[in-house]
Symmetry: C2
Subunit: 454 residues, 2 copies
């Protein structure tokens, strides 16, 4: 096995040396879009049982702190807030997706920086720079262990997320190269997370840990808490044990020239991304006045084989399962002409009419389809056929979500999460974050007063 | 792949149902021996830089708490104390060894219970029962993923340790079977730790996390924080992704009949266990009045090939490396007739006379040797040969350390760690722990007053 390639050192040197002025405008913008989206999904999740239980469970062990829980009134110590905000950001898997790895890059990274900002003070510019570098490190480490790592069963957002939080926090701490190597090493021993736990509360623990432990990794490294020289590429380093076929060069090739963050995508629907084109097609068909749902005899969906492999899931029993069920997604978007979180709730799943409609779905594999394409063909009892083809799903790399739609998502998810406060100041502050002298003031706009909770 | 075997459920049922009266006397005794040993090694480590830095680093984020840091004056919140005490217990790898897996079983498990006891109250009997069950779960899960898991590069004490702490804490919380399954699932997403980090401070983070996160896993499970039904044996459960060839049956076969804790061993020297017979032989030779170190022409050590593979390490540069260097171990034990922590310090390694002596060591592989056997043969310049054969090293499964030697180890390591307090009351309390109404009173005997520190 090749053991001479250097990975951690060069990555750390790049992070240590990168300045705000080195960050292309498009990267700065994408960083802000990622933050708008993560605040949106944190609003959606902030009232979920997993988050409420985590706050209550950690409270006896945490210091009094200044760090906000997005969408809630509690304030926690920095590590606790990083943990909880990462959980709520990702609890519905409605957060962003790095297409090459299926990593949700912002949930493990941004909450560490938010908590840091409210505890130690941080400008918007420094936060955005730290975020961009943390997300970059996370996605590149993810690239290096993909696709084997996730396929083996590791929840890659969690296992690689801790590196993102460590690098991001390390950058805002202004760590030097050696300290960043230590921070990455400290993160490398905190890489838990299992695909087996998807759809359960337990999944959120590892996502929360990624943010918390990454932050702690950098704080300890600042204080001289030292580790091995090559935690990623060493003979028993993370990259080599995370997968049988690591691509070490993926970590550093083109650093500063090619930004993974520019490939980040945001979901219009709270579902597995392979369902995006299917739902988009169904919503278009639902708007067609020729369609009467009661008259549907059969529904055929054509797509890349991955669509069937990941989403052929009839008879789901929970909202979480419904998020990766084509049967449910098709039925609910046709019948209700909507595909938001309420449409993927436990209550929606319990509707027998949707089950009946979903049972009419048949898959047709077509290798010639890209994963962001799908065709939905509906046969009516009259014999007529209605059909919709989506070549590139909205929200995917080819048709990124518009800024305005990210704002709408934030407003809708605040409502879903029961966060009642004026949102315009928050949205404005996020879009102009690089001009914020103190991010703590922005975070204050994302809190909810206890009194205003539903 | 076999996916029907049930593992987590039966393990949880056994743990939930096991009572103090079900625990054989030998298991109760071994549990106490494990605790004496872990307090000893915690004393040794409590003043190490990694521990001091961890306490300082965590302090701003932790609540005021009652939980002791063994050998020190600070008191922390329960999660923080569990973290720190597990670190110090294992920082020198001088803690116990489960021979079948090379797991150090007590460091991740006991600190969670100590912290629990001081926070919520716990009798000695309940602590010992929780400890025995936690250590059992840990070692059995370790058996199920050995030897592939450690060989791949996972630090098995950390990765499997979190299950031990979760089960132990779950037992003292009196969780039912379902809650224990959730606790094990919550632990299953917190399985970090890399062999790559051995010999660095970073290693201690994952050991600390095992105790802390295992404890948190059980506390969350008590509050209904739920997870998958089969976190260990599921298609993408821990056992299946931890190694290519899991032995699922190893987790539950003979539960309650065969106790892994009874195979636990304690180190007489702060070194890799394969060095035990070598050091024992060298200490015997050092006591031989015919030996003059200056007259040594050559040293041959004969043993199982594993001895050479793990310890042929000339020219080491730190005490940590010296712990797995036959060259250093042979030299120092011959030259100084001692083999304690001072003999495996950075200072000892810097002694050029020891380097020169170590350079005279030659290995001879002999497959017929057991791993706990070794022969050391010294050729003098006079032509004479001195030789010592150790068939079964002291401290190994065949010749367990005596209780009195564990006491001596505790006293010596307290001195090494600079813990100045009367130790007899602590030793007595540990040997009679099952009669303690409140373990907090025992832990008070393991603290050091700030004033008494060196």
């Amino acid at each position: 096995m090749e053991v001479t390639a250097e990975v951690t050192g060069p990555l750390a040197a790049f992070v240590a040396g990168c300045r705000w002025s080195d960050l292309p405008e498009a990267v700065r913008k994408e960083a802000k879009r990622s933050l708008v989206n993560v605040v949106a999904t944190s609003f959606a999740g902030c009232n979920e049982p997993a988050i409420v239980k985590a706050i209550a469970g950690l409270r006896p062990f945490g210091a009094a702190g200044n760090a906000s829980v997005i969408g809630r009134a509690e304030r926690l110590d920095a590590l606790g807030a990083a943990f909880v905000n990462a959980m709520s950001a990702n609890v519905f898997d409605f957060d962003d997706t790095h297409p090459a790895t299926i990593i949700h890059p912002t949930a493990p990274v941004a909450p560490a920086l938010f908590a840091y900002a409210e505890t130690y003070g941080l400008s918007g510019e420094d936060l955005l720079l730290g975020f961009a570098l943390g997300a970059e490190a996370l996605c590149r480490i993810g690239n290096a262990v993909s696709p084997g790592h996730y396929r083996r069963g590791w929840h890659i957002t969690s296992t690689c997320g801790v590196f993102g939080a460590a690098v991001a926090t390390g950058k805002v701490l202004k760590l030097d190269q050696q300290q960043l190597v230590w921070a990455i090493g400290n993160a490398a021993v905190q890489t838990g997370g299992l695909v087996e736990t998807l759809g359960t509360m337990t999944k959120s623990i590892s996502v929360g840990n990624a943010a918390r432990n990454g932050m702690l990794s950098a704080l300890l490294a600042r204080d001289g808490f030292s580790g091995p020289a090559r935690p990623l590429e060493g003979e028993r380093g993370f990259l080599r044990i995370a997968t049988d076929a690591p691509k070490l060069e993926a970590v550093c090739d083109g650093l500063g020239e090619r930004w993974e963050l520019l490939t980040n995508t945001y979901k219009p629907y709270p579902c597995g991304v392979v369902l995006n084109p299917v739902i988009e097609a169904c919503l278009a068909l639902a708007a067609d006045e020729r369609l009467a749902v009661a008259e549907i005899a059969g529904i055929e969906i054509t797509g890349h084989p991955l669509l069937r492999e990941r989403t052929d899931r009839p008879g789901v029993r929970s909202g979480r399962e419904a998020q990766v069920s084509a049967q449910h997604a098709v039925a609910v978007s046709l019948a209700r002409a909507k595909a938001g979180l309420p449409e993927f709730s436990d209550a929606a799943v319990a509707d027998p009419a949707l089950r009946a409609l979903g049972s009419k779905v048949a898959f047709k594999d077509d290798d010639s389809y890209a994963v962001d394409a799908a065709r939905v063909s509906i046969r009516l009892r009259t014999g007529a056929t209605l059909e919709k083809f989506v070549e590139h799903a909205y929200g995917g790399p080819a048709r990124p979500m518009a800024d305005a739609d990210l704002e709408t998502k934030l407003r809708q998810l605040a409502e879903y999460g029961g966060v009642r406060r004026e949102l315009a100041p928050l949205i404005d502050a996020l879009w102009s974050l690089e001009r914020a002298a103190d991010v703590a003031a922005v975070m204050a706009l994302a809190r909810s007063d206890a009194a205003s909770r539903p």
